[in-house]
Symmetry: C2
C-alpha cells in the first residue's frame, strides 16, 4: 500500500515575530488537506523576556547557552505562550491542533550536550531514534495536527532546549518509516540564495556538491547553514522531499510544488 502523505513544516522567528504574517501562514497551514505537523522556533520573544527579567543571554556559534533561568524563559515562551497561541489560532481555523513539548507523552527525548570546550547547559541533541513514532502515529490517525515547540527532555526529569531545525529534521526522518514525508523549512527568503544580496537568486535544486561549493565561496547566508545541515541529513535518511521556501508561500508549495529550493542528493 502507498504510504500516506505527511507534511512536517518548520517555521522560525521571522514569522513568529510578525502577527499578521503568522496568522496568514496558520490559515494556509490549517487548509492543508493532508496529515501535518508544525514545528516552531522562538523568535525574538525569549530574548526580549530575558532582557526584561535581567537574565543575561550568551550565544556561542548561534546557540543559546541555557542555564536554569534561561531554560525557564524558553520553556515559558516556546512551550507556553507561542505554542498555545498557535494552537488556539489553528483551532479557530478548524484545524485540530495539539501542542507538545518533547516531554509530553515522551514524544521526543534528547541527550544533554556533553561539556567539551563550551558548557551549553540545558541544551539537548536529538537523532531520529529520539522520536516516539508509535504514539505520534496514533495521534495522526486521530486526525490531530501536532504542534511542537523545540523543548525536549532527557527522561531523567529535565527539560532541554533543542534546535527547532533539528527537531523538524528528526521528526521527518523517524516518520518516513511509515509515511511519505515532505519536510518544509519556511523562512523569510525565496529559498537558498546563490547570491546572498540578490533575493531573486534562489536555486531551484541544491545537491551536496553545489552546497559545498557555495559554502566554500562564502556565498551562503550564515543563518542558513544549520538549516541546510538538517535538510541534507533528512534527505540522506529517506525523507522523500525536502524544500526550503518562503514562509508567505506555503499554499503555492503545497498546491504546485514549485517554490523555493529543493534538496537533492
Amino acid at each position: 500500500m502507498d504510504k500516506q502523505k505527511l507534511y512536517v513544516i518548520k517555521i522560525g522567528g521571522s514569522l513568529i515575530d510578525n502577527q499578521e504574517t503568522l496568522m496568514n501562514f496558520l490559515e494556509q497551514f490549517a487548509s492543508i488537506n493532508a496529515l501535518k505537523i508544525l514545528v516552531h522556533g522562538g523568535g525574538k520573544l525569549a530574548s526580549d523576556l530575558a532582557v526584561e527579567l535581567n537574565v543575561p543571554q550568551q550565544m556561542t556559534d548561534g546557540r543559546r547557552i541555557t542555564n536554569e533561568e534561561t531554560l525557564d524563559i524558553v520553556t515559558m515562551v516556546y512551550a507556553g505562550k507561542i505554542n498555545k497561541k498557535i494552537v488556539a489560532k489553528l483551532q479557530n481555523f478548524n484545524c485540530n491542533a495539539i501542542g507538545f513539548s518533547g516531554a509530553d507523552g515522551n514524544l521526543i527525548k534528547s541527550e544533554k550536550r556533553s561539556v567539551s570546550n563550551v558548557d551549553y547547559g540545558f541544551v539537548g541533541d536529538v537523532d531520529s531514534k529520539s522520536v516516539n513514532v508509535d504514539l505520534l502515529q496514533k495521534f495522526l490517525e486521530l486526525q490531530l495536527s501536532p504542534v511542537f515547540s523545540a523543548i525536549t527532555h532527557d527522561q531523567k526529569g529535565d527539560l532541554l532546549n533543542t534546535n527547532a531545525d533539528s527537531v523538524a529534521s528528526v521528526l521527518a526522518q523517524a516518520l518516513s518509516q511509515n509515511y511519505d514525508v515532505e519536510l518544509l523549512y519556511c523562512f523569510d527568503k525565496d529559498g537558498v540564495l546563490e547570491d546572498v544580496v540578490n533575493p531573486d537568486s534562489a536555486v531551484k535544486m541544491l545537491n551536496f556538491a553545489k552546497y559545498e561549493q557555495l559554502r566554500s565561496e562564502n556565498k551562503l547566508h550564515q543563518g542558513i547553514l544549520p538549516k541546510l545541515t538538517n535538510a541534507f541529513q533528512a534527505k540522506e535518511n529517506n525523507v522523500n522531499k525536502v524544500v526550503l521556501h518562503n514562509e508567505t508561500k506555503l499554499q503555492n508549495q503545497i498546491n504546485h510544488q514549485n517554490e523555493g529550493t529543493e534538496i537533492i542528493l
Copy 2:
C-alpha cells in the same frame, strides 16, 4: 461491565510553590495503578513574574482580572513552565504524562465571562459540556496521564484563564459518563476544618446542610468556598466520590480511602 476507575486529582499553589513536597506528590501520583488525570493551578509564580515584569495585578473576589499582558503571563507560567516541568518529572517517575491546555485537541472549551459589574477580561467559564470526552478517552486508552493547566480556549482563537478547581470538577463530571471517577482536591489542610484555627478539626463527611451551617457561622476558611462549590457540583452530577484532603497524603487516600473530608449529598 463495570466502569473503569479514573482519578481526577487537583493540586494548587501551596504544593507547586514547594519543590520538595511537589516532587514527593508527583512520585505518589506516578505510582497510582489506575487511570489518572492531574489538574494544576499556578501558585505564586504568576504573581511573582507579574511583579518582575511590572504588570499590575488586580484581584476581584479572589479572581484575577486578566488583561492581555496578564493572559500572556499566566499562559507562560501555567501552560509553559509549571505544566512542562510536572510532565518531565512524571516521565522520570515512569508515568507517561502528557501536558495540555484546553486549546490542545480542543479538549476544554470555555465561554468568555460576560461583562456585568466587573470586566474580568480573558477569563473563561466551563461546564461539563466543555469537555471533549471522546478524545480524552482515546488518550486514557493509550495509558497516557493527561496533565492540565487551567488555560482553556473559546474556539475563536483566544486563550482564556480558567479556575483550576472548576476545570477539575467539569473533567470529573464529563468523564463520569464512561468512568468510575474519584475527584480529589489536594490542598494544605487535612480536609474541611470545622474550626478554622484547629488543624485537627477536619470533618470526615460533609453534606450540603452541614456545609451551609458552617458557612453561615463563618467557620469556613475563605479560600475553601470555591473549592466546595465545585466539589458539590461534581457530586451532584454523578461523580462517584469527591474528597478534599492533604496533598502530602495522596498515597494514603488511594490505598486506604480514609483521608480528608468526603463530600456527600
